[in-house]
């Protein structure tokens, strides 16, 4: 993307007024998207964002500047601005020598730019027709296609020099059904870190039928109960629980600021012994997969909780450096206009011992959540919420009536200890965008079927 000697001179300029660390992050992002809504193909859009973010670390202070001008003069101006922002006052660090550039990614076999727009649009029409064919009560269908190719180059004054070529492809659907109880929405989505070859293995019509069936089922849904109940979460559906209940609290930046309930608890039993929690950026094709993180560190598999014991946090460059340890490859950022921070990649709980049918059969009265929506956590208290987008009542050990949407609320450290059954049917969940301090990054999650002995269900029924 940019010549090595230009980057070396930019890094040297960034450290001209002193400082312990400088970094150049270059990004070239191309995206396309199309939406079919109300039977029409609309909102066809393309985006191009290209630029560099430069940071300089002086003591505990990071100076940051970014530019869309990738000429040597443009990079130099950004380096000067970052250096001034870091308020360095020492002497130049001298020349910076980068090693040979390493390359990862680029595994998409059909890149977005090589796919005719007709083919993308045709997917949308097929999905629309399949969803509407599920029943006359399906009154609205929205289908979104999006792809992004993100090429990044990271170089820093420690000699890191790496590039990655990330391609992601996403299709999401929302079907609206109308009935006596009003309007109900059913959703489904698939997203992977691959190119258009995704649609050789994914049946778009089946996704559409699933979304439509969810909406139709909910027409008969009754209000969800309110109060504390056992909750069974279906395979692939529970990842967001762990993402919110403890994932964010295991991010080393929040730990260091004492803004996490998991600070100072390494080596302690923090969860049911059934729970082994892993964050794994290397999971090929999954939505949170990366070749390198946005600090140039190769993605890796990190065990965070093992058999219920907190083993480690997730780390980015700055937090790892402060502790004199290596980064765990979790330094990520939304774009070149943002500073990196500790972020999750693909976060999951592995298989447990139980047959999923037994988990439901063992539950006399509770809620079965087939699909969770988005969530949110207050890492300092551990209190979290997440939405149930598809849920059913469990009565007498059987799944019975569908429930309307609602939120679940709980406290991370408490909920982790209340997982009493874990299935043997692991699956990854839906592609997600994780937000933290205003930055969104793609993340994946997964779980087998599992039971929490009690969570607070936020329904309207007494």
């Amino acid at each position: 993307m940019i010549d090595t000697d230009v980057i070396e001179r930019t890094l040297a300029a960034a450290l001209r007024r002193g400082g312990e660390f400088a970094e150049v992050f270059v990004e070239d992002r191309r995206s396309t998207g199309a939406v079919l809504d109300d039977g029409r193909i609309e909102d066809l859009s393309s985006g191009r964002d290209r630029g560099a973010g430069i940071r300089v670390v002086v003591g505990g202070t990071t100076g940051f500047a970014h530019t869309a001008d990738l000429s040597e003069a443009g990079l130099r101006a950004a380096a000067d601005a970052a250096s001034a922002a870091a308020r360095g006052s020492g002497d130049s660090r001298g020349a910076v020598d980068l090693g040979r550039r390493t390359s990862t990614g680029g595994r998409a076999s059909i890149r977005p730019e090589d796919v005719a727009k007709e083919a993308k649009v045709e997917l949308l029409s097929r999905a629309d027709q399949a969803a509407r064919a599920e029943g006359g009560a399906v009154t609205q269908v929205t289908v979104r296609y999006a792809d992004v190719r993100r090429r990044v180059l990271v170089a820093n004054s420690d000699g890191v020099h790496a590039e990655d070529d990330q391609v992601r492809t996403l299709l999401s659907l929302a079907a609206v059904a109308r009935g006596d109880t009003g309007l109900q929405t059913g959703r489904e989505s698939v997203g992977r870190t691959v190119g258009f070859e995704l649609f050789a293995v994914v049946d778009v019509e089946e996704l559409a039928r699933t979304a439509a069936r969810r909406a139709l089922t909910k027409l008969a849904a009754r209000p969800a109960p309110s109060g504390s109940l056992p909750v069974v979460i279906g395979r692939g559906g529970g990842g967001v629980l762990f993402h919110e209940a403890c994932g964010h609290g295991l991010e080393a930046d929040l730990v260091a600021k004492r803004a996490s309930v998991f600070a100072g608890r390494r080596g302690e039993l923090v969860a049911s012994p059934l729970v082994t929690l892993v964050d794994d950026g290397t999971m090929g094709e999954e939505w949170g997969h990366i070749g390198i993180d946005d600090e140039g560190r190769p993605a890796q598999r990190n065990v965070l909780i093992e058999d219920g014991v907190l083993t480690d946090y997730m780390w980015d460059h700055l937090r790892a450096r402060a502790e004199g340890r290596p980064s765990s490859g979790n330094g990520r950022r939304q774009s070149y206009q943002h500073l990196p921070m500790v972020r999750m990649t693909n976060t999951y709980i592995g298989n447990g011992p139980d047959d999923p049918d037994d988990i439901i059969a063992a539950t006399d009265h509770g809620v079965y959540v087939a699909q969770l929506g988005g969530g949110q956590v207050n890492t300092a208290t551990g209190d979290f919420v997440f939405g149930m987008t598809e849920a059913y009542l469990i009565e007498g050990g059987r799944i019975t009536e569908p429930l309307r949407e609602g939120n679940l609320i709980g406290n991370g450290p408490e909920v982790l200890t209340r997982i009493d059954m874990l299935g043997n049917d692991f699956a990854m969940g839906h592609p997600g965008t994780c937000g933290k301090d205003g930055q969104g990054v793609p993340v994946g999650d997964g779980t087998p079927t599992l039971r929490v002995t009690s969570l607070t269900v936020g329904g309207t029924a007494a």
Binding site: E42, R48, T61, H66, A68, S226, Q376, A380, V385, T456
Partner: protein, 455 residues
């Protein structure tokens, strides 16, 4: 946005970029170009030191092309001539694949005169970086030195100045500029093993208008008052929403009153114009001509003069917010409610929502309510509200209200109702009109009969 008459040099430059693209349109092709340039500074401090200092300029261009009823769009983060040319080419190419739709297209100027709004502060541009750092550090110190505060997660100063231009083949040509600054702090209070958090924020066009002391005091008060909070038993409660939270909920309601969701049958309030949808106490307007709102503006995202739009009047639904496309689709006129950045197509949206105040103070309302739940924060709003069905279920923290007095702190409970019921169950409005950082103006709101889920 301002008319192109008294344009400043940056505005003139952006208009020039946009004009060159629009000038490339052959007969039969409509082009609209939005161009933006912004500068921002963000200072984050932690533990008495500057954690990060960001200083950056960014650019954006968005090109909309309409040919034969087909619309295409492209955007880019650079105004380099080759990038601009590629962006136009991509937008044209995208238009080829859209469904023909008689309702899409650019708006024509409608002759409504803009109400002037000054959104610029020269004073903000001359604030030295050292002062920004000093202010953020002082804010952090004011919070950390308060009793029972364990730490501050972030204290932040940020400021931004931006220019934008909009030029279209329909004859629209606008530019605007604005400044904004904000300070915020996130406090963590602790008492033994118990922790609670509180947030304070203020935003203004001018740095002199920011109230640092109030921001610090609010963060401390919100964090410390929730210490010891625990779930209460499930029950039906009367909710008291302070203006900040009332604005959030009414903003969600207003989002269901936008033309695109109405036209596509995705609003619980579609087909209900003229009907009583709320308590007669409620009058809700979207009025970007009200200069008290930080979101006040002269023109909307398609270049029409902003105007005052009444959504709900004495509880009766009066209409919806439209941009050009949603207006044509529903046989209405644009209400100049197109909302957009350079990176996206315009959509109809809320700009400066305001509720008509009631006649009693918030203290009088608390006394009148007697027993209830005073909400201090919501969680999970993005997943907990279904704007299609209207179902609402969110996490909440706050204080019980007993005998008109604030009582025990409450955490880890859910609140559930529907947007439709919430509007009808609205019992009282305060007189405490408050203009919030997001640009809306709201008062204390009391709502009856909400399901609280707890122990």
């Amino acid at each position: 946005m301002s008319p192109a008459g008294d344009v400043d040099p940056v505005g003139a430059e952006l208009i020039g970029v946009a004009r060159r693209v629009v000038g490339a349109a052959p007969a039969g092709e409509a082009i609209e170009v939005a161009v933006a340039r912004g500068r921002r500074t963000t200072v984050q401090v932690h533990a008495g030191d500057v954690e990060s200092f960001t200083s950056a300029t960014s650019f954006g261009i968005g090109v909309r092309v309409v040919v034969g009823g087909r619309e295409g769009f492209a955007h880019a983060g650079s105004l380099d001539p080759d990038v601009v040319a590629d962006t136009l080419a991509e937008a044209r190419d995208n238009a080829r694949f859209a469904s023909p739709d008689e309702h899409v297209g650019l708006v024509e100027p409608d002759g409504v005169e803009p109400v002037p709004v000054d959104r610029w502060s020269d004073a903000l541009l001359s604030v030295p970086d050292a002062d920004k750092v000093h202010r953020a550090l002082a804010l952090e110190r004011a919070v950390t030195t308060a009793p029972r505060i364990r730490t501050v997660r972030n204290a932040t100063w940020s400021d931004a100045s931006g220019w934008s231009a909009l030029v279209a083949t329909s004859g629209i040509e606008r530019w605007s500029r604005s400044t904004a600054c904000s300070i915020s702090v996130s406090a963590i209070a602790a008492d033994g093993d118990d922790t609670a958090t509180g947030y304070g924020v203020d935003a203004a066009r001018d740095p002199g208008a920011l109230d640092d002391e109030r921001v610090a005091a609010e963060a401390v008060a919100r964090a410390t008052e929730l210490l010891g909070g625990r779930p209460v038993p499930s029950q039906r409660v009367t909710l008291v929403l302070e203006p900040r939270l009332a604005a959030t909920v009414l903003g969600i309601v207003a989002g269901t009153l936008t033309g695109d969701v109405v036209a596509k049958g995705r609003s619980p309030f579609a087909d209900r114009v003229g009907e009583t949808v709320a308590s007669p106490l409620l009058t809700l307007v979207d009025d970007p001509t009200d200069a008290r709102s930080l979101a006040a503006d002269e023109f909307d995202g398609e270049g029409l003069a902003c105007r005052r739009n009444v959504l709900i009047d004495d509880g009766v639904l009066r209409g919806f917010l439209h941009d050009g496309t949603s207006a044509r689709r529903t046989g209405a006129r644009s209400t100049a409610s197109a909302v957009r950045g350079a990176r996206g197509l315009p959509t109809p949206g809320v700009q400066a929502l305001a509720v008509r105040p009631g006649h009693r103070s918030s203290d009088a309302l608390l006394a009148e309510v007697g027993d209830g739940f005073v909400v201090r924060s919501f969680a999970g709003l993005h997943s907990g509200v279904n704007p299609v069905s209207g179902d609402l279920s969110v996490g909440a923290e706050g204080r019980m209200l007993r005998g008109g007095q604030l009582a025990e702190p409450v955490r880890e409970v859910t609140l559930a109702t529907s947007l439709q019921r919430l509007l009808l169950d609205l019992r009282a409005l305060g007189d405490d009109l408050t203009w919030l950082p997001g640009g809306s103006g709201a008062v204390t709101v009391v709502v009856d009969g909400v399901a609280l889920g707890g122990r």
